[in-house]
C-alpha cells in the first residue's frame, strides 16, 4: 500500500499558503532558472543562481523542515550532482551552448587514469554553476512533499486545472515515490538474508554489472506493476472514473497566495526580459583568468 511522505503538520507562513500557490511558485522558479531559452538554457550566471538558491533555502527555513527529515534526499542529490558535474569536467561535453569551447582559457591539464583532463576557467565556472543549479532545483522541489498535507495532493492537482482522473493519478504517483523507497529497503533486506551482497563493480562488462542489480530491481519493478494493478482494481470496485466526482477537501486562495503566485510570475517575466537582453550567460569570476 502507498506510504505517505514524511509530512509534519506545522503552522508556518509557508504551510499556510495554498498548496497550489506553492506548486505554481515552484514551477515558476524552476522555469525561470532552468528553462528560459537563450545562450545556455536558463541562467548560468552563478551570482543569479545564488539568488535562486537563497530563495529556495529561505522557503525551507521558513517551513522549518529539519535536516533529519531531508538528510537522505540531500545525500542522493549530492551524489547525483557531483557525478553529473564530474562527467562534464572529464569529458568536456554537456556544456554545449553555454560557452564556446574554441575560446577556452586553459589553466592547466593533468592526466588521471590515462585520461587527460583539461582545466579551463570556463570549465571550472561551468562545474560550479551546474552543481549550484542542481542544488537549487532540488531545494525548490523538496519543500513540496514535506509541507503539503497528503490529503490535499489530489485536490491541489485538480485545482491546477487537471481532470479528476489525472489529478487522482498524480496524487497516487506522488505517494508512489516514498512507497518505492520503503519497498527497496525490504527487498534489500530479503536478498541480503539470502547471502546477497551488492557488488556493483563486479563483472567485466556493463551488461554483467547491470545484471548484479537484478535481484533488487526485478522485485521492485514487478512489485510496482502488481501494486498498480491492485490499486486500479480497488478503485474500479468503488466506482472510480465513471463520471465527475466530488472532492472532499476544499482549497481557497487567500490574498497572500495571489501575492506569492504573482511573485513567481514576476520572476519568470524578469528572467525572460533579462535573457532577451543577453544577460544570464555563464559568468566566469575574473580571478580565474588570473
Amino acid at each position: 500500500m502507498l506510504v505517505n511522505w514524511a509530512y509534519i503538520k506545522r503552522d508556518t507562513f509557508f504551510h499556510r499558503l495554498d498548496p497550489r500557490a506553492r506548486i505554481i511558485f515552484m514551477l515558476c522558479a524552476l522555469i525561470a532558472l532552468g528553462f528560459i531559452p537563450g545562450r545556455g538554457t536558463g541562467f548560468w550566471d552563478m551570482r543569479v543562481v545564488l539568488v535562486f538558491l537563497g530563495l529556495a533555502f529561505l522557503q525551507i527555513i521558513v517551513a522549518r523542515i529539519t535536516w533529519r527529515q531531508m538528510r537522505r534526499f540531500w545525500i542522493i542529490i549530492t551524489i547525483v550532482a557531483v557525478m553529473l558535474s564530474l562527467v562534464t569536467l572529464l569529458t568536456g561535453r554537456g556544456a554545449a551552448g553555454v560557452y564556446d569551447p574554441s575560446m577556452e582559457h586553459v589553466i592547466g591539464s593533468f592526466k588521471i587514469l590515462g585520461l587527460s583532463i583539461v582545466l579551463s576557467a570556463e570549465r571550472i565556472s561551468y562545474l560550479i554553476t551546474q552543481m549550484m543549479r542542481i542544488m537549487t532545483f532540488a531545494a525548490l522541489s523538496v519543500v513540496i512533499p514535506y509541507t503539503i498535507d497528503p490529503a490535499l495532493y489530489g485536490i491541489a492537482f485538480k485545482g491546477l486545472g487537471l481532470g479528476d482522473k489525472v489529478a487522482y493519478a498524480m496524487d497516487l504517483a506522488f505517494r508512489f515515490i516514498p512507497t518505492l523507497g520503503r519497498d527497496m529497503q525490504i527487498i534489500m533486506d530479503a536478498q541480503r538474508a539470502r547471502g546477497f551482497e551488492l557488488e556493483a563493480g563486479r563483472g567485466t562488462n556493463l551488461l554483467q554489472r547491470i545484471r548484479n542489480f537484478a535481484p533488487l530491481l526485478i522485485p521492485l519493478t514487478i512489485g510496482a506493476v502488481v501494486e498498480g494493478e491492485e490499486i486500479s482494481d480497488a478503485m474500479d470496485l468503488r466506482g472510480f472514473g465513471v463520471g465527475k466526482r466530488t472532492w472532499l477537501p476544499r482549497l481557497t486562495y487567500q490574498t497572500i497566495d495571489w501575492i506569492y503566485i504573482g511573485f513567481g510570475v514576476l520572476i519568470v517575466a524578469v528572467g525572460i526580459v533579462a535573457k532577451r537582453a543577453g544577460y544570464g550567460g555563464l559568468w566566469i569570476p575574473p580571478w580565474l583568468y588570473g
Binding site: M1, R192, R194, I222, L237, V242, R245
Partner: protein, 523 residues
C-alpha cells in the same frame, strides 16, 4: 470454474471455502463485476443481484450493490488518511460534500473506529486496516458484501472481532459472501450456506453440518472434536511428538538485554533476553505490533540492537555482515513478493546457495529436494513470478531451505496458504532427525505465527510477546494453559488446544487431533 450455482437470501451468510487455486476469488470477481470488465474472461450463465442481472451495467452501478473487501486490506486502501479512504467511494458517486461527511462519520461510529478518522492509513495495524477497508465499502451502503479472506492477516483476537462484526452486519440485513479457508473459525458465526469448491467445481453445497461430515479434514481445517470423532479407527501415522530441548544444549543464538527502536520512534524491543538452543522449535506468538518481526530480524543482523547484544554461536552480530550470518541462519520473509526475481524457479532457488559459494552439484540436489518438500517440483522451469500467491510463498520458503542453513527463522510461514499445503510443508521441515519424507534437520527453528494450532502441533517451546517484551516462555503445555495471559496478548485458545489440555493428564504432551483420537481409542 464451471457449473457453479447457488442462491442466497437477504441477511444470510454464505461461506465459500476451498484450497488455494480452487476458484474462490474468480467466483467473487464474477459477482463483483471485475470479470469480465477488468479481467478478460469467458463468462456464461447468469448472476442476479437483488433479482437484477447486472451484465450490462457499469462497475460503479455494481459497486453500489456489492461491496468488495479484497483479501489484503493493504491492496485496497488508496486514501492517505482514514477519512479520505472512507470517503473515496462516495466522492466517486458525486454525492454532495455534507452527505459524504455524514456517511463517513456514521460508518466510522458504527464500526467503533471514530478515533482513527485523522490517522494516516499506512500507520494503522493490520486489524485497523481491515476495518478501514470495510468502512470504505460500507459507507457506500451496498446490500451485499463480498469479503475475500478477511481473516488472513489478523491476530486471533482481531479474528474474533471481525467475525462478530460480520455476524452483526448480517443480522442487520446485509447479505454476506465470505470467502475463507479457515472454516473452523467461521463456524462460530453460523453461516447459512456453505459452498466448497475444488478445482473450479462445486464439491459441496449446503448447510454447514454436511460440510463438517463430508469434507476431507486433511484439506479443510475442522474443529478438533469433529476430527477426533471422525478419525477414530483410522490409525493415522503421525510424526512423533517433540520433547523440549535440553537446558544444557549448545546455545546457538543469544539475545542479551536487547533494546531497539527506529530513529526517534517508540521502543519496539525493551530489554529482551532469549537463548535459542540446539533442538529448540519455537513458536513466537503475540499481537500485531508486539515486536515479533523486529526480534526475528535481530537474529540475522537485519536490525542491530540499540543496546544489548546478539550472539550467533558466541560471535557478536555487530562483527558480522548479514551475508555471513545467512550461512548459519535461513530467514523466510513474510511476503514472497520482495524476493522473487529469477526467470525460473530453479534459478530462484539456486540464488542463495550460489551467494554462499555452494558447489553446482550440491545446488542441484538441494534445489530439487527443497522444491519436492513444498510440492512444487512440477514448476521447476516456470517463472516463479507467474505462480499463484500461495505457490510463490512456498517458492520463497524453498529458496531458503535450499541454502541448507543450520537454523531456520520463518515469519508467518503459513499466511495465505491452505491447510493441506502448510501442514505438509511443516511436517517436512519441523522434526528431529532426517527421514525420507523429511530431508531437513535444523539445529533450531523459530517461527512467528498467529495460528495457535501450529504451536500446538509443532513447537516444543512457545514464546508470547507483548509490547516489546517476552511475557511467557516455556513448553507448550505450560504456556498455552494460561488462558488469562494468552487473552491479554490477543492469543485465543482453539478447539485443538482445549482438547489437548483435556487429554494432557493421559498424553503428557500436545498432539494433533488424529493423535488424540488414537489415545481415546486405546482407553
Amino acid at each position: 470454474m464451471s457449473n457453479v450455482s447457488f442462491s442466497l437470501g437477504q441477511g444470510q451468510i454464505a461461506l465459500i471455502s476451498g484450497a488455494s487455486g480452487c476458484g474462490k476469488t474468480t467466483l467473487l470477481r464474477c459477482i463483483n463485476g471485475l470479470i469480465p470488465r477488468s479481467y478478460k474472461a469467458e463468462l456464461s450463465g447468469q448472476i442476479f443481484l437483488n433479482g437484477i442481472d447486472y451484465r450490462d451495467k457499469s462497475l460503479s452501478n455494481i459497486s453500489q450493490v456489492v461491496g468488495t473487501v479484497l483479501q489484503d486490506p493493504e491492496r485496497q486502501i488508496v486514501g492517505a488518511y482514514v477519512q479520505n479512504e472512507v470517503a473515496f467511494g462516495l466522492e466517486n458517486l458525486e454525492l454532495p460534500r455534507a452527505e459524504i461527511v455524514r456517511h463517513v462519520d456514521e460508518t466510522l461510529d458504527y464500526l467503533g473506529i471514530a478515533h482513527l478518522k485523522h490517522r494516516e492509513t499506512f500507520t494503522l495495524s493490520g486489524g485497523e486496516k481491515q476495518k478501514i477497508a470495510l468502512a470504505g465499502v460500507l459507507a457506500m451502503r451496498p446490500d451485499i458484501l463480498a469479503l475475500d479472506e478477511p481473516l488472513a492477516n489478523l491476530d486471533p483476537a482481531s479474528v474474533q472481532d471481525a467475525l462478530a462484526l460480520i455476524r452483526r452486519l448480517a443480522d442487520e440485513g446485509k447479505t454476506i459472501l465470505l470467502i475463507e479457508h479457515r472454516v473452523e473459525d467461521v463456524l462460530s458465526i453460523k453461516p447459512d450456506l456453505t459452498l466448497h469448491l475444488q478445482d473450479g467445481h462445486t464439491s459441496y453445497l449446503g448447510p454447514v453440518d454436511g460440510l463438517l461430515k463430508d469434507a476431507d479434514y486433511h484439506a479443510v481445517k475442522l474443529p478438533a472434536p469433529i476430527v477426533i470423532a471422525r478419525s477414530k479407527g483410522r490409525n493415522a501415522t503421525l510424526p512423533p511428538a517433540m520433547s523440549p530441548a535440553s537446558e544444557t544444549a549448545e546455545a546457538l543464538i543469544q539475545i542479551e538485554d536487547v533494546s531497539f527502536n527506529y530513529d526517534g520512534g517508540p521502543q519496539i524491543l525493551d530489554h529482551v533476553n532469549l537463548t535459542i538452543r540446539q533442538g529448540d522449535v519455537i513458536a513466537l506468538l503475540g499481537p500485531n505490533g508486539a515486536g515479533k518481526t523486529t526480534l526475528a530480524k535481530h537474529t540475522i543482523g537485519l536490525l542491530r540492537p540499540n543496546s544489548g547484544r546478539v550472539l550467533l554461536r558466541g560471535q557478536d552480530s555487530r562483527e558480522m555482515t548479514v551475508a555471513q550470518m545467512a550461512r548459519t541462519i535461513g530467514y523466510v520473509f513474510q511476503s514472497p513478493r520482495h524476493m522473487l526475481f529469477a526467470p525460473t524457479t530453479r534459478e530462484e532457488l539456486a540464488f542463495g546457495p550460489r551467494n554462499l559459494g555452494h558447489t553446482e552439484q550440491d545446488i542441484q540436489i538441494d534445489t530439487e529436494q527443497a522444491l519436492a518438500v513444498v510440492h512444487l517440483s512440477a514448476e521447476i522451469d516456470r517463472p516463479p513470478l507467474a505462480l499463484s500467491f500461495g505457490q510463490q510463498k512456498r517458492v520463497s520458503i524453498a529458496s531458503i531451505l535450499a541454502m541448507r542453513s543450520a537454523i531456520l527463522v520463518m515469519d508467518e510461514p503459513t499466511a495465505g496458504q491452505d491447510f493441506a499445503n502448510y501442514m505438509s510443508f511443516m511436517d517436512s521441515v519441523v522434526g528431529l532427525g532426517v527421514t525420507e519424507e523429511r530431508p531437513y534437520s535444523f539445529s533450531a527453528i523459530l517461527f512467528i505465527t498467529h495460528d495457535v494450532d501450529l504451536a500446538v502441533c509443532y513447537a516444543n517451546r512457545v514464546l508470547i510477546m507483548g509490547s516489546g517484551q517476552i511475557v511467557a516462555d516455556g513448553p507448550p503445555p505450560q504456556v498455552l494453559a494460561d488462558f488469562d495471559l494468552m487473552q491479554r496478548h490477543r492469543v485465543i485458545p482453539t478447539s485443538l488446544l482445549k482438547a489437548n489440555l483435556d487429554y494432557l493428564s493421559r498424553t503428557g504432551q500436545f498432539m494433533r487431533a488424529e493423535g488424540l483420537a488414537t489415545v481415546q481409542e486405546n482407553e
